[in-house]
């Protein structure tokens, strides 16, 4: 079971994601943005950072990079794909996930510990999270306010694609509509979230709740690999 972590110029959580994937039991390798194949990765993480500087709009340029062709094909094949923070922004810009991430309503960069409720436990990313358990994770972003027009958000909720929401006690840190912190695509195999599970993978650093998410993904990918 191998996880590939894409390195865009400006990615800055690439090594963190690599570290997190390894803690979750996977082999993990960095994938260069100029590459056109995934070196046999069973699951792919688009990490946090400021890909290509994010000077135009977060994630707006990264979607054109050579590796994204292989990432799209991987997702189309049903491969697991996780976007964290800037990676989530890239996935929405690439049209692989619904919605958009706007500037935080506080108009500031926000670094805070938040608590996520887990809305579904039957996705490849959440299957190992015990029912009723919330996740304590850090956020670190300036443009993380999730947006989707009301009607579309109704549909998204209806189809069970909203899988993480900001919850008490800290609440919604960035003004995301209906407290949405993370979503999946229709297949449930592409997931994006603003908080950082890879930074909460060891109790020493304040929380290991994020490991539940990463481990779910790694175990799901391993199962697919075993079946194949």
């Amino acid at each position: 079971m191998k996880v590939g972590v894409v390195v865009f110029p400006g990615s800055n959580c690439d090594r963190d994601a690599l570290h997190g994937a390894r803690l979750a039991g996977a082999q993990a390798e960095l994938l260069w943005h100029e590459d056109t194949d995934l070196h046999g990765a069973d699951a792919v993480i688009l990490p946090g950072g400021f890909a290509y500087g994010d000077y135009l709009r977060a994630g707006a340029i990264a979607r054109f990079s050579p590796i994204m062709g292989a990432v799209r094909a991987h997702a189309a094949r049903g491969g697991l794909l996780l976007g964290i923070c800037n990676g989530f922004q890239v996935l929405t810009e690439a049209g692989l996930l619904p919605g958009a991430l706007r500037r935080n309503t506080t108009l500031r960069f926000e670094h805070r510990w938040v608590r996520l409720s887990v809305e579904r436990h039957d996705t490849p990313f959440t299957r190992g999270i015990p029912a009723g358990q919330t996740l304590r994770l850090p956020i670190a972003h300036g443009e993380g306010s999730y947006y989707l027009p009301d009607a579309e958000l109704d549909d998204l909720e209806q189809s069970g694609q909203v899988i993480f929401r900001y919850g008490p006690p800290e609440g919604n840190p960035n003004g995301s509509v209906r407290d949405v912190a993370g979503v999946t695509d229709a297949s449930g195999r592409v997931c994006g979230l603003m908080p950082h599970p890879e930074r909460a993978a060891e109790a020493l650093l304040g929380s290991d709740d994020g490991l539940l998410l990463l481990r779910s993904m790694v175990e799901s990918a391993a199962q697919v690999e075993a079946v194949a």
Binding site: N12, F50, L107, E110
Partner: protein, 779 residues
């Protein structure tokens, strides 16, 4: 850095100087004195041409040459068993075992931040990051001690917002967590904020890079952003003087940061260092290419020949002096064997960075500049760098200053104990809500503190703690300064800052390995300002020697003055410590109901320079508290010993706001109150709010009391039980002569006491910054 800007007398009339009598004056317009021009002529054996003069003017600035401070800095202790690189390198480096080492340094970006707070602060972060990268180290943490005027006017609040956003923007973008620092308000910093930034990086001991050019025939490769006119300090003066006037006159001299390019530069540099294909590496900061070329050649005893036409540029028609002294950001100079040039340029290309061979290492000891095949400057590298001029400055103390009594000297009546008869609970709430003491969350939520997955303790506690992956070790880091005390007694202020900073390391159980510093002072040509600087260096050196901690590097920032006057003397200290086993980490917050609260050390007289003095005033002839360095060293050893014997559940040092504030912080962080009794010897204010040093609040399990008391007695440190942790209130009863006396004077039937719900203290503490800066961080 604006290397020359503060030293140039502005040419207000905009007189264009081109004729020969006026050309003689060029050196003055560049900020060089007649004496300095004579020294340059002496070193060259001839008069310098204009380009050479421009190169000297930036290299002989205070920032690059330390011409006023070099003699003082030589007195500092800089060596130690763990020190791998000391002052003179891009950053100090200390060994931490397991084949690893840590590079760290503090630097200032004060003047640019006063002009343009966002870019000034951002490029300050970029600059210190590159200093650490130039040692081959991967930056793992930033700390930003900041000082501003009192935030009661919008101009100051604008500076605060801009600087905080600037620091955050650069650090957040390159993915280096900002894990600590300070935010201090004092009227002396009005219009002249201090933006000091410390960077800490990790490097394999055998992977250290050095800023050196030793092999003639090797190539100098410039990589990173193309060179532009930004950041040419005093460009307007240069232009009007001799290089053709025009729009360049109005060009801002503050550099513009590009954190994205900075991130690519870090990754490319570290990849090059890791591949072992560099002989030398240096970042381009103040004085740009001139500084990097001359310092690398000087260190290696070589020369370097710069081909100006090869320098990648982002603007047309740049004059030679502009290329040579441009401070465009995000650039590095590498010295490489000819056969490795292609490999170096390929790494740069992969990271999307322009690179070019701009020079050749020579054996003639000179920095030569060539354009169109013609030599247009030739200067001995050492004349620009290690043999730059030194200034003998006059130092004289002000007519009246209030030094602390010598340790052990009895507190005399005229020490002016503060007025009795206060309500200590209200004073405590006022202190907790004071802008200098309250929660820093307004600032620190704008900093990414957890990127890198090493942060155990970030900005919100006394010291930052980061683990070292692949080991059991943790690095502990803190910054401190004591400008309010230094305003009375600069040597004491600097020594107190060293003592507090290392104590902040020691309370975690760690051992301080080294100190870095940033000396922020006024015009060294003013004898009183120079006295403040020399006294501060003396105090800092004495403290470091007594505590056995070397100073591994730092930076000097002079001319910190505004029309309102000179800043308070500010020796900013940064300390790095090592915890060998992170299972032994002690944190400051109260942990368990029923734990004993213990005070190590004793309160001394002297409220001058304290936060209490700021809100309540103090007697006019009161003095700052004294510092006994031998006792401080004993206390710090005791803390490490007690931590290693697992006696401690928490430890917090007593500093700003005094004992009551230290206890309140432990309570707020731990979410647990306490019920305590304090013996008052002199006056309640001294006991509760005095800031005399060498004191620590501990909590321990009751069964460890005997063990701790025995350890403390062994090193003659006072050790007292104050009470127990628990409940949701902070109650501090006052007993003893001083306490009852105060109550009687007020006609109260019972002695004063503190008895405040924790929730009220937390509220005051949380609202301290939003109250003065506004709820939101945006401009």
């Amino acid at each position: 850095m604006i290397a020359v800007e503060p030293e140039i007398e502005s040419d207000a009339d905009g007189v264009t100087v081109g004729s020969s009598p006026a050309a003689v004056e060029l050196h003055r317009k560049l900020g060089l004195t007649d004496q300095e021009l004579a020294a340059i002529t002496d070193r060259l054996g001839r008069a310098p041409n204009d380009l050479e003069l421009a190169m000297f003017s930036v290299m002989w600035s205070e920032h690059c040459s330390y011409k006023s401070s070099r003699g003082l800095l030589r007195t500092l202790p800089t060596t130690g068993d763990d020190v791998l690189a000391g002052p003179g390198e891009n950053a100090g480096v200390v060994r931490i075992g397991d084949g690893l080492a840590v590079a760290f340094k503090l630097e200032s970006h004060n003047h640019p931040s006063a002009v343009e707070p966002f870019q000034g602060a951002a490029t300050g972060v970029g600059g210190i990051l590159r200093d650490v990268v130039a040692m081959g180290a991967r930056p793992m943490a930033l700390l930003d001690p900041l000082k501003f005027g009192w935030p009661d006017d919008e101009a100051t609040r604008r500076l605060v917002r801009g600087v905080v956003r600037g620091v955050g923007s650069y650090g957040n973008c390159v993915g280096v967590p900002t894990v600590g620092g300070e935010l201090l308000f004092d009227p002396s910093y009005t219009n002249n904020p201090l933006v000091n930034v410390m960077c800490v990086g990790l490097v394999a001991e055998n992977g250290l890079a050095h800023a050196i050019a030793t092999t003639p025939g090797y190539a100098a490769v410039l990589f990173g952003s193309p060179t532009g006119r930004d950041g040419i300090g005093g460009a307007s003066v240069l232009a009007s003087a001799n290089f053709g006037a025009g729009s360049a006159e109005m060009r801002p001299s503050v550099q513009i940061g590009d954190p994205f390019a900075g991130k690519l530069l870090i990754e490319a540099s570290l990849e090059l260092v890791e591949r072992g294909i560099l002989e030398g590496l240096q970042d381009l900061g103040a004085a740009g290419l001139t500084c990097a070329a001359s310092e690398m050649a000087d260190r290696g005893g070589t020369g370097i020949r710069i081909d100006l036409d090869a320098v990648p540029r982002r603007e047309d028609a740049m004059a030679p002096f502009e290329v040579m002294i441009s401070e465009s950001q995000e650039r590095m100079l590498a010295v490489v064997a000819p056969e490795d040039v292609a490999a170096v340029q390929e790494v740069c290309r992969r990271w999307g960075l322009p690179s070019a061979v701009v020079g050749l290492v020579t054996d003639d000891g000179d920095v030569t500049v060539v354009q169109d095949g013609e030599e247009i400057a030739r200067v001995p590298a050492r004349a620009l760098a290690s043999q730059a001029i030194e200034m003998n400055r006059l130092a004289s103390p002000p007519h009246r200053h209030r030094a602390a009594p010598a340790p052990g000297e009895p507190a005399l009546a005229h020490d002016g104990l503060p007025e009795r008869g206060m309500d200590p609970g209200s004073v405590l709430e006022a202190l907790m809500g004071h802008a200098n003491l309250g929660s820093r969350e307004w600032v620190t939520t704008q900093y990414d503190q957890t990127v890198g997955t090493d942060t155990i303790e970030g900005c919100d506690k006394t010291a930052a703690v980061l683990r070292v992956k692949g080991t059991r070790k943790a690095l502990v880091m803190a910054t401190d300064s004591q400008p309010a005390v230094a305003a009375y007694d600069p040597a004491l202020g600097a020594a107190l800052a060293v003592a507090e900073c290392t104590r902040n390391i020691a309370i975690t159980g760690a051992r301080p390995l080294g100190i870095t510093n940033c000396l922020n002072f006024g015009d060294p040509g003013n004898p009183e300002a120079f006295w403040q600087l020399s006294e501060s260096v003396r105090g800092m050196g004495e403290a470091c020697r007594a505590l056995g901690v070397p100073i591994t590097g730092g930076n000097v920032s002079l001319y910190n003055e505004s029309p309102l006057g000179r800043i308070a003397p500010t020796a900013q200290i940064g300390a790095l410590g090592l915890l060998e086993d992170l299972d032994l980490l002690i944190r400051p917050q109260f942990r368990n109901e029923g734990d004993l609260v213990v005070l190590l050390g004793e309160a001394g007289a002297g409220m001058a320079g304290s936060a209490y003095e700021r809100i309540a005033g103090a007697a006019p002839d009161d003095r700052p508290p004294s510092l006994d360095l031998a006792r401080e060293a004993s206390l710090q050893k005791l803390l490490q010993q007690a931590a290693s014997e697992k006696l401690l559940n928490s430890a917090q040092d007593v500093s700003g706001g005094g004992l009551a504030v230290a206890i309140a912080e432990c309570a707020i962080w731990g979410g647990l109150g306490a019920d305590l009794t304090l013996a008052v010897a002199m006056a309640p204010a001294v006991t509760l709010f005095g800031e005399s040093p060498t004191r620590v609040v501990l909590t321990i399990a009751p069964e460890h009391w005997n063990g701790l008391a025995r350890l403390a007695a062994g090193v003659r440190i006072a050790c007292r039980r104050l009470g127990t942790v628990g409940g949701d209130r902070l109650r501090i009863r006052l007993v003893g002569v001083g306490a009852t006396g105060a109550a009687e004077e007020r006609g109260a039937g019972v002695a004063d006491e503190v008895d405040v719900p924790l929730s009220e203290l937390r509220k005051a503490w949380t609202m301290a910054l939003p109250r003065v800066l506004g709820q939101e961080g945006h401009a």
